[in-house]
Amino acid sequence: MMSRGQIIFPCLIFAVVAALLASGLFVYRYSLTVIGFPLGAGVFVCVMCLIDIAMSLTGHEPKPPANDMPLEPLSWTAVAWAFALVPFVIAFGFVFGPALYLLAYLLVNGSSRRLSAITTSASLLVTWGLFIQLMRIPMPIEPLWW
């Protein structure tokens, strides 16, 4: 059965590309040399999106191969946990942020305190020891909002 996503996703691509092209043509007024290639690529994408939408509406959307392993639906909790790393990094920097994130994630998701502590220490060792001290990558230790 066709899912709504099969229609919404190409519509979104179409809308974003069309909006970008319109801004380039009518707001920033790029010359033809500047906008030529993006215009060609963008129009191609938009036309293909329309064809894709039409195919989905008429029941000709691509189907997964019969022997393909079906993808499990994503849980919103997992998505929230993944994106939670960003506020951790912003709040605590690139060394302590990931370490605290790991500690929080592992404890909340049922790992033992010992494993959580070892993983957190390993994270500190990798970010501070390997990346900052050894590889001299200028990674901000202080919070990013500082």
Partner: protein, 495 residues
Amino acid sequence: MLDAFLSAGGQVFHPTVLAAMLLALPIGLIVGLLPGISGISALAFLIPFTFGMEPLVGLAFLLGSYTAVSQGGSMTAIVLGIPGEVPNAATVLDGYPLAKQGRAGYAIGAALMASALGGMFGCLILILLLPVMQPVVLAFASPENFFLCLAGIAFIGVLSSGAAVRGLIAGGLGVFLSLFGYDPTEGVPRFWFQFEYMLDGVRLIPLALGLFAIPEVLALMTSGKQIARGDSIEPISYRQGFQGALAVMKYWGTSLRSSSLGAVIGVMPGIGGVTATFVAYAMARQTAGNPETFGRGRIEGVIAPEAAKNAEEGGALVPTLALGIPGSSSMALLLGGFVILGLQPGPEFLTKHLDIAFALAIICAFGNVVASVSMFMLSKPLMHVTRIPGRILAPILLVLVVIGTYSAQNNSYDVLWVFIFGLLGIAMERFYYSRAALLLGFVLGELIERYFLVSLKAHGPFFFMRPIALIIVALVVLGLLWPNRRRIIGLWRPA
């Protein structure tokens, strides 16, 4: 020339040179295992240590680590579905499904053997071509490079068979995204919306890691289960690895074709490893039986990109050494290393230091083999990673992806973009849009525009009327029609 070659052999197997190379190899392997950190980071990290070294010792030190990086990247691509370097993204397509089936060792063995043989092939090409390379490389001007890139684009359709329209959308979107930032001829920034970060356009590493790594991490977080989950999970052993290595011999045609393709792409300055791996993958799919099973754990889908990637590295050394033109950003840094060590690559370098040029080719070949063997030794503990529960592994991988993304260009915004492209990657995976096609389009889009505009300005509207350009077009058409050759020949035969 034979004297120079023999002298090179003698110099390479000097204990100091070997020691320098062996010292640098583990560093390369570790760097390769970290997502987002590429060979360029290994070179940047090691160059300061070469001050005061003998030229060949210093170069062995640098090349030793550089050759090892890609092997590390292949491991993470297969075991975790996260490309260590961007060119490793092509290995994810079939390597990771094999790991999910509990056959990571098989894929690792094939990847390492293909890498070693591809690397040796690339170095052989380097040795053979160095003395005669100058006119060949110079024969490839903007029009030829434009058609080479166009040839890469032609394979987008192959990467997306089964959902051709969606593959074309993905490829076109990749091209479109690559055109953000400064335009190559007038220097006008496009689609930057007064956001300084966007002046340089969309960055490759957040895009590649977002498209390929984030969906896998989220899938692991959701299920909480281990990566290897098939019905027929094989026990972890070196035996799987040996079987994988033997598969490279079985599919020797794929390996040879991909190595040749990688070496040719490497020789052309500025086209790069990502193109080599994806086009080799597409070619393998095009020439194999049952192409629809690619993407679900076909071993040729691992062999082809791995062979091409390492052969490309040998090829990329050709313009660097013969002309002083770096074929990639890593080669540009290596060129800096040459200067620090008191050498100036270019045509004169080959007349004065042909022995060193040959020695570098031997170091590359030797480095590839040693790195493959070392990685093979490490493969068993790495395979155990596929048996760690997802609820523990996923957050660790996410942290590595974020830190690796930041480290690539020391830019915090890259981290935000990796999540944005992650969302795109999730949607693409679920609605059957080829992520590989998007990445290939992205890598080639900007090059196509640049070479097209330069060709038009330098050679006029008939820039395509050049023998090599026409040969490239003919080869591409032949390559695309090859699987349907019987049907086409049948059309010509009288009924």
